[in-house]
Symmetry: C2
Subunit: 623 residues, 2 copies
Amino acid sequence: MNTAGPLHSTAELAELGQQLRVDSVRASAAANSGHPTSSMSAADLMAVLLARHFRYDFDRPTHPGNDRFVLSKGHASPLLYAAYKAVGAIDDAELLTYRGLGSRLEGHPTPRRLPWVETATGSLGQGLPVSVGIALAGKRLDRTGYRVWVLCGDSELAEGSVWEAAEHASYEHLDNLTVVVDVNRLGQRGPTRHGHDLDAYARRFKAFGWHTVQIDGHDVDAIDRAYGEARSTTGQPVVILARTLKGKGVAAVEDREGTHGKPLPDADEAIAELGGPRDLRVRAPEPRAARALHAVRTGHLELPRWDEGEEIPTRDAYGQALAALGNARGDVVVLDAEVSDSTRAEAFAKEHPDRFFECYIAEQQLVAAAVGLAARGWIPYASTFAAFMTRAHDFLRMAAVSGAGLNLVGSHAGVAIGRDGPSQMGLEDLAMFRALHGSTVLYPCDPHQTARLVATMAGLDGIRYLRTSRGGTPLLYGPDEEFPVGGSKVLRTAGREDRLTVVAAGVTVHEALAAADALDAQGIPVRVIDLYSVKPVDRLTLRSAAEETGCLLTVEDHREEGGIGDAVLDAFLDGRPLPRLARLAVRTMPGSASPDEQLHAAGIDAEAIMAAGRLLVEEVIAP
Amino acid sequence: MNTAGPLHSTAELAELGQQLRVDSVRASAAANSGHPTSSMSAADLMAVLLARHFRYDFDRPTHPGNDRFVLSKGHASPLLYAAYKAVGAIDDAELLTYRGLGSRLEGHPTPRRLPWVETATGSLGQGLPVSVGIALAGKRLDRTGYRVWVLCGDSELAEGSVWEAAEHASYEHLDNLTVVVDVNRLGQRGPTRHGHDLDAYARRFKAFGWHTVQIDGHDVDAIDRAYGEARSTTGQPVVILARTLKGKGVAAVEDREGTHGKPLPDADEAIAELGGPRDLRVRAPEPRAARALHAVRTGHLELPRWDEGEEIPTRDAYGQALAALGNARGDVVVLDAEVSDSTRAEAFAKEHPDRFFECYIAEQQLVAAAVGLAARGWIPYASTFAAFMTRAHDFLRMAAVSGAGLNLVGSHAGVAIGRDGPSQMGLEDLAMFRALHGSTVLYPCDPHQTARLVATMAGLDGIRYLRTSRGGTPLLYGPDEEFPVGGSKVLRTAGREDRLTVVAAGVTVHEALAAADALDAQGIPVRVIDLYSVKPVDRLTLRSAAEETGCLLTVEDHREEGGIGDAVLDAFLDGRPLPRLARLAVRTMPGSASPDEQLHAAGIDAEAIMAAGRLLVEEVIAP
């Protein structure tokens, strides 16, 4: 068949659909695992998209005019890889490496390994939310006219994240976004809630402000018309609800329960039933001619400065530094979950409204949209309360799988927020962010430090997390001090005289300094380390402190698991002798109280540090 | 005014609303913090509910016939506490302790401190999801006729969790559930997406299968009629969309931006404008006479047994043990997120369909419904893939604030799942669950061990997490072996001859045993500890192992942060000398491969343990 242009006839499109089915079956059979039946239901939807509507140059995945495709139902990866073969992006031999050691063709697609994949999928209900971020970039920033196509399963519409995204997309009038739902009626363990009731889904999407189209997902002409309708719809996003059959085309599995996530029982028979292997080649329609990707203005960075004697919350420093960074870098964008007055991201919003994205109270969508913007080359900063970052944990996990570059900023860290109580206290955020693959975790204690770190984050890879505090803190550093990632600051030392090292970050640095004054007055010289870089941790400084002072005391406004205490231990877990160590952290469930009362009740204030430090120096082991 | 029965006249109800406003203003003024304006918008809604429709005996919060009330907009706590004063549950002096150290009246209400609170709120979008669980208990299990009332804010409807809950409630025909939305138009930092467009919300709820009512939320007669309509609606849940004004009744703040989350600028003036303090007392309508709470059948527990030579995945053991536990205990209920064929919870579903709750692919709702069921005294087991537990992190965090008793079971732990790739691998779950306050974390390596732990979990407090594996493992223990929480098993030792201790759990126990055989053959006797109880950890056994063997090697199918390595260190962080220690964990981003290839690539298989163990014994420090 032709290799030069789009396929035209109904028969040709149907043949392409059958090829995608056959190749899905073959790949899964070769791997002896995978999801062929979930691929077969969507094969016709994919065939028509590829041949007629998806404007993409597979030789130039970075082409600024390329449409974007997201396989939200990531388990249907055999279909995606079969499509890559049909366009000549991979060959048949590679197709059959599916799910093998070292293969680019993973069980669920990731952009780490494949240049045509926009975002990692496989955790359901994430492809659409991320696509909203990509479509936002297209509509508000890139403006090269590309369209974002998303293939969703029906099961995943039960995820709330889908409806956060649906709300976001219609509110932003994303008519460059088309969602195709493969309504094959069957989830993993049986029928979905709504089965083949397309109206049920249509009512929901319509209510959320979407244009809806319902079709037979195996009628290639109907599919073609629906895609055309999507492309010509303006002012709102479009969802195409396609009635399909799981395992379509092979009687042994078609529309049957118990066929999810396994190769077909008899691949050869199935392939024969599907009409045998084909070797159609198709070329997707050309992308629009487009100018280069967003030309990014870069200028001189002038960070804010504060005067000695001021008490500035690190969240304020974040907001002001972010606004300044926005002046210097045209590629910085900021996302808010309707708390920008608290996180202080509002300072950026005021100066750069064109690059500010309000996501309302929807933290999953906050992070997903950031992932989408990052996929298009923008540098997103997304901020909310540290506590509510946990709402997006699965999205952060998947962002790490994608290798996405994100800046996340969590405010209102720890018990130090005071009277609002535990629901608003970020007490598990360090543990969550530290465990993410390739993450960087920063926790400043001073406004100049915060400002520097906010700027530094922009240039890092992977997930960067900065933790800010609600209350004001006195200045510890000058405006020109530098804070390399992976470093720390020794704020106080009597050199080899020191008998104890206290390691702190954020609010506890100030408590540690007060405690050190008091212990010093009692004849115990204390070293104080400001561990602003929680991950990576400054191994050398910690090791020499251990060697010189013999014992370490960590103190943190965080749960004892996974925070600063554990980060410090990372410096020693290579078989070397360890220092004696004790850890102060939040072990209680706080109630409401003033910030000082909270620090005291949690046992992480200067008084607690003094008491623990003395015990440690005197080698008293806790009972 | 009367103290003996419901208030009747419009004027009386309006007066009660004003009292609730005044007391909200007074409490916030006394605390010099809080959310009076968010309380004032909903005061009339609360007044009518309390006086006319909420059937509750405040002297007997455990009365089985009591209605249930959930303040989903938990920041409107002044309103809740003002209501408690109006019914005589607290006195005025206590009201004015609001947000103070030691006060029961926290910034956001929690059931830890107040007997009338069903669940902790303050993270938005959680009250309704949990209420669905309570209403499910009411409709399917308790059957004492109680009704669940939820007061939501409008901002929080942007949370996807609300729509997971909306779907769940209508699918289950929860006509005992009424949601009142205080549509005051203003979020924290400005107008909401839909402002006062009640139709926008009505369309969405209608599409999700709810009966909707729209009213003026300051018209007490309209409110009364709406509540009556809700109570008489059958077959579907009801949402009452009430148009209100934030800060209603005080011109300085009414319907104005910038008034969120702070005391009124002039409390005395505001109180005067509201007509001054009142001291109305109201008695909520009597609860229905109801028999005692669910009589729970308890019988003999007969756990499954397996024969030597079988290779049984721990997930299979979970399913079978759960079914057995269901036979022995009538209060055990099980929730699934549409993966019960994978988690093996289907074994319970088959035997106890009346106590099985399908939540479809909605992990936030999975956990929230479990919290609701637990609030009503049931013992929930909720299972999905360990990786997808991260989706519910914020719900787990809030469940810990509530002190809820939950059993969570995450399957498909670690790289050992094989070909599906990183999106499906639970690699951060131990870190997440360990950092939750008061949690228990269990990780079995053998089917008999799994079965015992599944049964033991039921009797614990707080959040209990069990991690299961996909692949089969040989039997290590007999059916009568006991596994106390906080214990461990020394699987292999030559006593004081041992030169190294390997600490493992789950799949790595088997790798550790193989490595120990090989090292022993090379003249290095190795102790192997099965750390099935990751939190709490067996300090004594670990300490004597450290003392006797001098060095510890931990190996885990999890990220290095927050998992088994860190758990082991918990045994030593009291200032005592530490053993030399090294840690093997998953430091790469895996792709697809077979389980054995994955363990090898991640460096956590027997070969890696041998290599690291030898280095540790030979005191070679890693570069």
